[in-house]
């Protein structure tokens, strides 16, 4: 479904702030894979997701989604294939627009936007039903401005928007990091539910090793712009946090694999 081949990306090349964020990254996701991504700060997790989403172009390598080479496509064109939820709850929605308008925008992802109505009556009914399923009390607030919602409600809405138009790929970039623990758990559970219901191929970046182990069918750990650990299936299910830490010191050949690095 997703194929990253030899991806290189350097920021601020030629300056004192030069940072090789991705160094020959390779990754292949099968249809329906739910992959959790962990790694320390600066390991390249978010950079990888941004490379896939097309926030900027990569220096080298190719990105293929469902057989289409998207390496040269701008972000807004790649959006046809990709649903995204960001770390910052402010980033995924238009705060000055209504809940239903945000959903209607998401429902037209990848389509040509012409002079048809921005939202139709049948859509409204559908959205009310979808929001009722979210169980956040949003179903009767379709015309509320999204700016009035809490962080958790926004992330839930963004999740719904990301999955509204079945994406080939769902990118979750530490989407619970800015939420309190209780809300984070609820949004994570909702993510699981939406991924399962829609059979979505998913990449989820997290800082929380427990979450990384508990969710998805495959886990990758990044270090220094590359994938250093890649476990799936039964092996992943048996994984524990100490296992992961031990594995990391072995692969990276350093003792840096302490809580500070991985859990920060």
């Amino acid at each position: 479904m997703l194929e990253l081949k030899n991806i290189w990306k350097t920021f601020n090349a030629g300056t004192v702030n030069e940072k090789q964020a991705l160094r020959g990254l390779n990754l292949t996701l099968k249809d329906g894979d739910f992959v959790t991504v962990i790694g320390g700060n600066g390991a390249g997790k978010s950079t990888m997701l941004n490379a896939v989403a097309g926030v900027w172009s990569v220096d080298e390598g190719s990105i293929t989604i469902d057989g289409t080479d998207v390496t040269r496509l701008p972000e807004y064109k790649r959006a046809k294939f990709i649903g995204r939820v960001f770390q910052d709850p402010m980033m995924g929605t238009a705060p000055t627009m209504q809940i239903e308008e945000n959903l209607a925008l998401a429902a037209r992802r990848g389509q040509r936007r012409g002079l048809g109505w921005g939202i139709t009556r049948t859509e409204r009914a559908d959205y009310m039903e979808l929001l009722r399923n979210l169980d956040l009390g949003l179903e009767n607030r379709l015309t509320s401005k999204v700016g009035l919602l809490s962080g958790g409600q926004r992330q839930a809405l963004t999740l719904l928007m990301a999955s509204l138009k079945q994406p080939k790929l769902l990118l979750l970039d530490e989407h619970t990091a800015a939420l309190d623990p209780k809300t984070a758990a609820k949004v994570l559970a909702l993510s699981d539910q939406i991924v399962a219901e829609n059979h979505l191929t998913t990449l989820m970046v997290t800082h929380n090793m427990k979450d990384a182990i508990a969710h998805g069918n495959r886990l990758i750990m990044m270090y220094d712009g590359k994938i250093v650990i890649d476990v799936a299936g039964e092996e992943k299910k048996k994984l524990t946090v100490p296992d992961l830490l031990a594995l990391f010191s072995k692969v990276s050949g350093s003792d840096e694999a302490d809580d500070k690095l991985l859990l920060s």
Partner: protein, 333 residues
């Protein structure tokens, strides 16, 4: 001794000018409020539209055709600013200033069309042409009501508001609104942010130029300085409209109407100021001061007072932290 009757007799002129500038202010509203761009192109466009309109009429074209061409000329100016900003990566504010400066030359050339050199002004007399709006129709009592520039100004404003109300409800219009509200989200939803910014700037400047075409007819001339400080008047209208009417005008169409009312209020105040025999040299500094104060009010309000916002009910199971909601609401107030 101030002559009260003189003030009363000057007010209709204020209303007429306010309505004509209302069209311009709607254009400013599109960029400033919807796209979140302060577009200074309008200082140039506010002359270009009138110049195109006057020259077309003088050269034998009908008034509607002339106004349409003024609108298109404004759109072209908006296109230039849009491309400077999106394709060449120049800050929006600077892009607008560059286009505005370039338009100074172009406006001189338009007004000197056919003479081989530039001209800094061009008269158009209502005696010779069947103009759609003219101050003559307003102050000479021999004309019927449907010739009044107040009537035609209102017609233009209402029709434009209705068209824009429809347009911003379409998929394309929603995409422009989303672009202004959150460009990151827009890109993630497959919206071409650059295209929408250019389109918004074109639409805005088209309206400004249309307003300029009307104003040139109303005052009977166009001058190279006609657009100077236009952005300030436009912003004044937008901000006054918002401050005065935001509690009652919540619907999008009504918000635009509020902007038109803002322009009318601005020109009424100007009439009063002139009536008070304030030195007319000081009008611009007065306008600038008024706009500066109105721009500062929301900032001061946020800084020095607690704004009480009606909290929406949280989900029963506490799906989100209410602290975040409160903070958010405060930010949006």
């Amino acid at each position: 001794m101030l002559d009260f009757a003189k003030l009363i007799s000057s007010l209709p002129g204020g209303v007429a000018q306010g309505l004509i500038w209302g069209v311009m202010a709607i254009g400013v509203y599109l960029t400033y409020k919807i796209l979140d761009i302060a577009d200074l192109t309008v200082d140039g466009t506010m002359c270009t539209g009138g110049a195109v309109c006057v020259m077309m009429i003088i050269n034998g074209h009908s008034v509607p055709v002339a106004l349409l061409c003024a609108f298109l000329a404004g759109m072209a100016a908006g296109l230039v600013t849009g491309l400077l900003h999106t394709a060449m990566g120049i800050q929006a504010l600077l892009a607008g200033i560059l286009t505005q400066l370039a338009l100074y030359s172009i406006n001189l050339k338009i007004m000197g069309w056919g003479t081989g050199s530039g001209r800094s002004n061009q008269p158009i007399s209502v005696d010779n042409y069947n103009l759609v709006v003219s101050s003559r129709y307003l102050f000479d009592g021999s004309y019927p009501w449907y010739k009044s520039p107040i009537f035609w100004g209102a017609v233009f404003c209402v029709v434009i508001i209705l068209i824009l109300y429809w347009f911003f409800g379409t998929e394309l219009g929603c995409a422009i609104r989303a672009t202004g509200a959150n460009p990151n989200m827009s890109r993630a939803q497959g919206i071409n942010v650059d295209f929408n910014k250019v389109l918004g700037l074109m639409l805005s400047n088209g309206l400004v130029a249309l307003s300029s075409g009307l104003l040139a007819q109303y005052q009977g001339f166009i001058d190279i300085n006609s657009g100077r400080g236009a952005i300030v008047i436009g912003l004044a209208a937008v901000i006054i409209g918002e401050v005065v009417f935001s509690r009652i005008f919540r619907n999008f169409a009504l918000k635009m109407l509020g902007v038109v009312f803002g322009a009318i209020i601005y020109y009424m105040v100007m009439q009063v100021v002139l009536w008070l025999k304030v030195d007319s040299d000081m009008l611009k500094i007065l306008s600038a001061a008024i706009v500066a104060i109105f721009l500062a009010v929301p900032y001061w309000k946020g800084k020095y007072t607690h704004v009480h916002v009606k909290h929406l009910p949280e989900a029963a199971d506490g799906a989100g932290s209410s602290a975040a909601a409160g903070e958010e609401a405060g930010r949006n107030a």
